[in-house]
């Protein structure tokens, strides 16, 4: 099967002006972590601090790119020179899917998230991180995890501006949404909720051509979220020939 040899998610732990892309998956111990603390650089996974559930909905401000169990920096942290900055959609060089020239997509790729690698169904409004809670996340129960994606691949033009709107906890549209093809982000962030809510690229990438697809994600929490150790996965669903 002519799948891609390399297909990864990159995170920018450099700066907005000078991105430094590091792989955050799907290799073992490479992952994305969140915290309400700005100082969680190079923390072993077993020592990762819990977060107190807030009394009101709030964004989980600090996102980290880990490349080994105890090796990681904040997104947009100048490779750890500064503490992790609080999330801002103006840091639009945030993350991207990155693939090599060994495979061919057979349809437009999809960006979503699942509770685990089992990719089980998600029940809306169940209080889980991805199931959401109507009182917090609105709609029919959108995910606490929000995503955005750019309307073209980097070879056609990397983003030169941020998404117009910052993510809010109530963002979401049932089913699939796509940014308009071209230099466009989604106008509003999308709920990332498995096979319920997701983002579909407005393009099928060119065959056997290395490229990247820029994306954003932001995590919220709130009083309706069930306290637990949450270890979902963000997923690129794709087809290949």
């Amino acid at each position: 099967m002519a799948d891609f040899t390399t297909l990864i998610m990159d995170a920018n732990h450099g700066t907005q002006a000078a991105p430094v892309w590091v792989e955050v998956g799907p290799t073992a111990n490479k992952e994305v972590r969140w915290s309400d603390l700005a100082t969680q650089k190079d923390i072993a996974s077993a020592a990762w601090p819990a977060m107190i559930r807030p009394a009101a909905t709030a964004i989980v401000s600090y996102t980290y790119a880990y490349t080994a169990n105890a090796v990681g920096n904040g997104f947009i942290s100048n490779a750890g020179v500064i503490n992790c900055p609080a999330y801002a959609q103006t840091n639009y060089m945030w993350a991207r899917w990155n693939w090599d020239n060994t495979g061919t997509f057979a349809s437009a790729p999809i960006f979503t998230a699942y509770p685990s690698g089992a990719h089980g169904a998600i029940v809306r409004d169940d209080g889980s991180l991805l199931g959401g809670k109507i009182a917090d996340t609105g709609g029919a129960g959108y995910s606490y995890l929000k995503g955005n994606a750019f309307g073209r691949v980097v070879s056609a033009g990397a983003p030169a501006a941020a998404p117009a709107a910052a993510p809010v906890v109530g963002d979401g549209t049932a089913g699939s949404v796509s940014p308009a093809a071209g230099a466009n982000w989604l106008a509003n962030f999308q709920s990332l909720q498995g096979d319920n809510d997701w983002i579909t690229a407005p393009f099928t990438p060119a065959a056997t051509t290395a490229d990247q697809w820029n994306l954003h994600f932001a995590l919220f929490t709130g009083p309706g979220m069930t306290p637990a150790t949450w270890t979902p996965v963000m997923a690129l669903r794709y087809t290949w020939t």
Binding site: M1, A2, D3, L7, I8, M9, V24, G25, P26, T27, A28, K30, E31, V32, R33, W34, S45, A46, W48, T104, F105, A106, S107, A108, I110, Y114, S116, G117, S176, D195, W198, T200, T204, A207, T208, T229, W230, T231, P232, V233, M234, A235, L236, R237, Y238, T239, W240, T241
Partner: protein, 149 residues
């Protein structure tokens, strides 16, 4: 041989009587009896005169589709990759299904067969290449599949 490989393979049949097996189109060496060292890319496989497409499955079953002319068949794999979040999250790449299909009318309706890798079963379903509901695939690239509708 198919059982030993642990995966599904496509096999195309042409109006000339020729049969082209996927393992005869591999770029890299595989532990199978025949291998001519060419590309395994479906987009490079001749579509003119292709009148049959089979899916040979590792459980011994096979599914076959037929068409009166070429450029009606498609073949793809559906899967993904996971990026874990949270300490110690599992990350992986995976293939959920190997799909073959034949377009049956100008509206894009199609009959498909798929080997589902986790369930280890061969299934049959109807769908539409302009908006595939199976695993939320969406619109197939006609160029990649070289489909003529």
């Amino acid at each position: 041989m198919i059982r030993a490989s642990g995966r599904s393979w496509w096999e195309a049949r042409y109006s000339t009587g020729k049969v082209l097996s996927e393992w005869n189109t591999m770029t890299t060496k595989v532990l199978l009896p025949s291998n001519n060292g060419k590309s395994s890319r479906w987009e490079d496989v001749p579509k003119d005169g292709m009148v049959g497409l089979r899916l040979l499955c590792p459980n011994g079953m096979a599914g076959e589709l037929e068409a009166p002319e070429g450029h009606k068949f498609f073949q793809l794999k559906a899967g993904g990759l996971d990026v874990g979040f949270g300490p110690g999250a599992k990350t992986t790449r995976y293939c959920d299904a190997h799909i073959i299909g034949v377009v049956v009318n100008s509206e894009g309706d199609c009959l498909c067969r798929a080997w589902e890798t986790k369930e280890k079963r061969l299934i049959e379903f109807y769908d539409n290449i302009f908006s595939m509901k199976y695993r939320n695939i969406g619109r197939l690239s006609l160029d990649v599949q070289q489909l003529k509708i």
